[in-house]
Amino acid sequence: MIKEKFTFAEEVKPQAGGGWYLVPADKIVEVCKTLRDDYKFDCLSCLTGIDLVDYFEVVYHLFSYSEKKPLVLKVKLEKQSSTMPSVSAIWPSANWMEREVFDLLGIKFENHPDLRRIMLPEDWAGHPLQKSYKEPEEYCGMSTKR
């Protein structure tokens, strides 16, 4: 159904497990809005980011309570910009999950109402789930040695 509606979305079906749709980053708000309003995907159950060395991937797990079915969207994101639009206006639950992805991976979400670190301290340097992250020797005078 999504394939007819969004021709730009690429369907990926692995041999095992459920498939997903690959959506371009600049189309994600449009796709998500349509999925919520026309396809009853009323719940964004999980929003995560992955550092795949060459590029970032942002994964959206949607769920429809009335239709009782899940849907997975993925967005490939270039490391140079690492900026993409926020879906927090569509599902308010995206607010904190996008903050978490920003906190740990450094992906910046445009039009997010309050994009700041959610778990790590405000003065933390770097984004620790990036593969290129190097752990500093100490934090606030505390040694990080094991």
Binding site: Y139, M142, K145
Partner: protein, 159 residues
């Protein structure tokens, strides 16, 4: 410690002032109600009626300003370590610290994490280390008894 001379009339007790003070201190170890992770569940169990720390004079206090003992029960992240050190600084001297469980001892399960402190002894001095993940209430009680032994031996007035 207290030597009871039963032969003396009216049960006179003789002791050293040091030892009397230490006996008083060790019999009223007030610990701070503070837990950061799953060890806190065992800490509640230890303070509860079955293990009953009250019989050793240890009762929980909800403010560091009334506490003698801080039990680090659980994983300490760097963000929490700053707050934990502030709580420790607010406690009046003499103060004691029990590191409860693997996480407080050395980072434990999370020692390869980027955000977890590798042992509370990097932030504050520790008197007793209780191993376990989490330690059973019996182990923590043993830690308290060891701490009481340590307090009893202190030369408090001759420093």
């Amino acid at each position: 410690m207290l030597t009871l001379y039963k032969q003396l009339p009216n049960f006179i007790l003789t002791t050293k002032l040091d030892e009397l003070l230490n006996w008083c201190r060790k019999s009223s170890v007030w610990y701070m109600l503070f837990a950061t992770a799953c060890c806190g569940i065992e800490l509640m169990q230890t303070g509860g009626p079955r293990c009953d720390w009250d019989r050793f004079g240890a009762v929980p206090r909800s403010t560091p300003r009334q506490s003698d003992l801080m039990i680090i029960a659980g994983t300490i992240s760097y963000k929490m370590a700053v707050c934990t050190r502030r709580l420790y600084d607010q406690m009046p001297d003499p103060k004691y610290v029990i590191a409860m469980g693997s996480c407080a001892n050395c980072g434990g399960l999370f020692k390869h994490s980027y955000s977890v402190l590798k042992g509370i002894d990097k932030v504050m001095p520790v008197d007793i280390y209780v191993p376990g993940c989490p330690p059973r209430p019996e182990a923590l009680t043993d830690g308290l008894l060891k701490l009481q032994e340590k307090m009893q031996k202190e030369k408090f007035l001759r420093s």
